[in-house]
Symmetry: C2
Subunit: 212 residues, 2 copies
Amino acid sequence: MFNKNDVSMSVIRRLPRYYRFLDKLLKKDILKISSRELSEIMGITASQIRQDFHCFGGFGQQGYGYNVKILHESIESILNIASIKKSILIGAGNLGRAIVSYANFKDKGFKIVGVFDKDPNLIGKNIGNYFIEDIKLLCEYCKKYKPTVAILCIPQASAEKLSKTLIDLGIKGFWNFSHYDFTKKFDKIAVENVHLSDSLLTLGFQVDNLSY
Amino acid sequence: MFNKNDVSMSVIRRLPRYYRFLDKLLKKDILKISSRELSEIMGITASQIRQDFHCFGGFGQQGYGYNVKILHESIESILNIASIKKSILIGAGNLGRAIVSYANFKDKGFKIVGVFDKDPNLIGKNIGNYFIEDIKLLCEYCKKYKPTVAILCIPQASAEKLSKTLIDLGIKGFWNFSHYDFTKKFDKIAVENVHLSDSLLTLGFQVDNLSY
């Protein structure tokens, strides 16, 4: 039913948003919804929604609306949320601290198995429920616990220095808050960049040019 | 030279990234660069770079490469970084705390003039150099200091409740970390959403489907 080759990354990027809205509908006991109704609450066209869902086999019968529960479950299954990915956080400063306490990792399919820093003032302390390990123990730790995802809350230079080591240690995915650019340097890894400062600069432009 | 109507939002979104790379070049005293060289370090095609820069009048002479300093200054001017936008942060929890200490606001054209929370345990304390004000003082504060940007580090329901008030108080731009969806509800405001959990879900999919 779901042929990955038919689905572009831009469709995939919209799935988490559908998932959030469907989650809200389920919590309100709304079990059926048409693409038109979904379009109204999500602010995207009904035709876009139908096209997106069509990539995954349709999820519903034309004219009857979508079954919210099935749709929710299907997206959950496509995003593979049930398969928990072991993750390490590198950088236990302000941002790392916020990320650890902000994101509900388990609900998103992730579990933090280690937090690392190189700062002697942080090593040995806790952030949230996590003990901050010395970055020197990284190799040993990865060999033992085999994490596949690294969350990088460190400066660009440190990220650049660590990236190859992390990949050699089995890291396949990076949630990258640093400005280090993985583009083209490595094959077969997944990178989600969160460039907060780029977002802020874009906002600045938009505020000054509200007609955009 | 720069006609805003010719420039799409997707080009604008790439400007902060150009700006970052050019900044690095300047710091290394590299004053000339060709689109091909820039393409190699940035991982986007030279043709894309030429097209993007063409929107703003070119920035350089064909065959001679771009003047890095002029390019950097021009992008800075388009992004209007020198015009500081007064901003308020709403929500002084973990995420708000991280945002305040993480982002170098001044370098991005923003200045935080107030931090607000409704939690009596936070009100009256400091985050970084900022005093946490009672959200009840929001109206009075905005009338006095006239901020134009609000950074929302609060839950969706609170953001939904506050959004109209903030717009009525003169807020034109939102750096939105909440899951509240401004789409279509308001005209003539700028919104930059940072949906950390969507990004995490997308990463999960990519890690499980590395051929993407």
